[in-house]
Amino acid sequence: MSIKLDSKIPSGSVGSKWTKYRQEMKLVNPANKRKFTVIVVGTGLAGASAAATLGELGYNVKAFCFQDSPRRAHSIAAQGGINAAKNYRNDGDSVYRLFYDTIKGGDFRAREANVHRLAEVSVSIIDQCVAQGVPFAREYGGLLDNRSFGGAQVSRTFYARGQTGQQLLIGAYQALERQIHLGTVEMHPRTEMLDVVMVDGHAKGIITRDLVTGKIEAHAGNAVVLATGGYGNVFYLSTNAKGCNVTATWRAHKKGALFANPCYTQIHPTCIPVSGDHQSKLTLMSESLRNDGRVWVPKQAKDCGKTASSISDSDRDYYLERKYPSYGNLAPRDIASRAAKQVCDEGRGVGPGGRGVYLDFSASINRLGEDKIRERYGNLFDMYERITGENAYQQPMRIYPAIHYTMGGLWVDYELMSNLPGLFVIGEANFSDHGANRLGASALMQGLADGYFVLPQTIGGYFASGKGGAPSTDHDEFKKALSEIQTKTSKLLSIKGKRTVTDFHRELGKLMWDNVGMGRTQASLKQALERIPQIRNEFWENVNVLGGNDELNPALEYAGRVADFLEFAELLTYDALQREESCGGHFREEYQTEDGEALRQDDKYAYVAAWEFKGVDQFPELHKESLVYEEVHMTQRSYK
């Protein structure tokens, strides 16, 4: 099929596009809205806010999540905050500045029009959440408090202690539960989407598995919205929840939806290091720790086994301060992460397995006193002690980078619709707003912008276009999809091999982390491309999935997800291989400045790489959407 990527960006100046779009968009009469059924998959910030808002507008909504309740999605774990261009601090913030910071932070690989819209609606998000009763931090005068966050020179981040994601998700969840009570939303928890059903070229339904009964079912609707999050767990170890997976977006991709920029993955520099092979996930520690901690490793590898206190100051290498004298320990996420990898690669890492660096608070404790440090970071020190058994007031913390967020996702146009008509993609699952790198406190902003304010508007245009009919689940396409899924499930249960699903996932993750992780080279990527199909083939011959289909079967759920990661990993690697430049979260070691900064190749790679599925074991076809910058000039990022 020939695909033409039409981003549908409205004409006019960047600041007028969203207003113009809303003035011109077609509307659905309130009485007609109830005739349209919208399927929303995933109930994190994007999915829950979209489902609630669509219900409020009068649409019929069917919402799905694999957890036992829509309150549990991994948005809940976001700590830091949410950006909004309110300029409550009077420090020179504006919609334009938030727009510019986001474009620059994304290393000039995001779409201008989408990002400007995001900055515009950011202010409404805060108002909406306050009205819902989200307990944001406040000052003594009763007004909302703000903090500053990485990549910005203004204080525009709203927060609720270290649990902003939790409070925003609970707000969206409560709005969703209200709609369930009112009967506009039908909620299906413990239900996993396994396929998108296309009828006459339009997305008209999904196939799901009821995780309790095992029943495989078809659901028809007038449109399908995927809000199914990111794919960080392709690396096995990440800060994502254990359940996070690529299945929904990958299976939509296999039905024709283009996958954009999968190689843009974000690494967070301050996570607790791996303690052994049993490690099942990584825990992030707020980056704010770098404000008062000094990062170091021993100068010589032979000192790595010694206790930190027995290594004298002259034998320590404070490598961030040495390499980046002006930003020092506050160097941006990607730079700090790569520097940590480099010293560990040199054999100078500390802790079990040698993959860790010290984050030392002794200087700050001497200067400010232990009480002050406890006041600032007490909860983080407690968390660290709970996990490692070490007291970070007495000895330095050990940290190491980990996969944290994925900027790539299904390709969408300005209306957040994929190239498959009727299939919309929102939140982390799409690719649109963060370019090659996401700034702190912007994930929550995007999820809620898409769900509360963008999708509920743009989806009406699709229905008003007259293409929005809903077939019944008796249609042949549904029957076909049902039988395909049943076959696949039976196949997984019938292999009865010798290796567990976890074992395969761990092997894939290690390969991806070593070869397609923080630093990528042509050679490492080619090696991964050789190895991934081998692991995949072995999986389908030698995986052992016990239990039956007609019951709660965590092994079967997990096997299906890992099977998809084993296909998706190849696409991620192809994308990293074709992008012969470094930008944001994608670092090709061949392309760096003398200072180790990412070196973009704007003349060749200022495009969105949107991949078309051609079959497992087939090379996917690359489609390019040129990124046209009308407002902003591309520059080299500098944080020196």
Partner: protein, 250 residues
Amino acid sequence: MNLTLRVWRQKNSITSGQFVEYAAKDISPDMSFLEMLDVVNEGLILSGEEQIAFDHDCREGICGMCSLVINGKPHGALPATTTCQLHMRFFKDGDTITIEPWRASAFPVIKDLVVDRTAFDRIIQSGGYVSVSTGGAPDGNAIPIPKEDADKAFDAAACIGCGACVAACKNASAMLFVSAKVSHLSLLPQGKVEETRRVLNMIGQMDAEGFGNCTNIGSCEAACPKEISLDNIARMNRLYAKALLKNKLS
């Protein structure tokens, strides 16, 4: 270290369950409790036995999905800690550990250690929200809220909806969960508007779901991984009495 596990195994909600003993060998003190179960499960699969089913997701103590009664205590004996954040260094070599699901008739067992907590969602549906729709909200700073009130509201809103309070209570009461939501919203001007209706409806739904009554023992507070305070129950009781009176007078 080597441990003996006594784990509740139950095929589904219809059949009855029983304790089954497993050996957990070569357990590192750095493992989380769930990682220890992962290791045991890997061994079970390789020996041809189905893995122990348990709920979990974020594994960083915030999603509220994990839910084990460990040696008789929901989330184990360590205060203010979810099961996923409990680490094996708090156990000793040779220990026998008993692992059970939440036990409450309002939380029926689905399989092994997995229970159905949708009753909590239905309680929220009955009124655990502010009735505002998207759009048209006034500016976020239009209504100043005293910092003390916002902080107290946050303390109540920190509830992760795990259900440990119910599992800890001899009456399987959900008062701590319900009162945390009632308090969170009533402490804020945005939520105060509907407080009468909310407290009546939520308590009505709580009773309809089959949760027991509160007898002020405080096991719920002791088991809560987020340290939600009993003060919330007192606040809810006041609001409930006021609401009943208000309804009578009108």
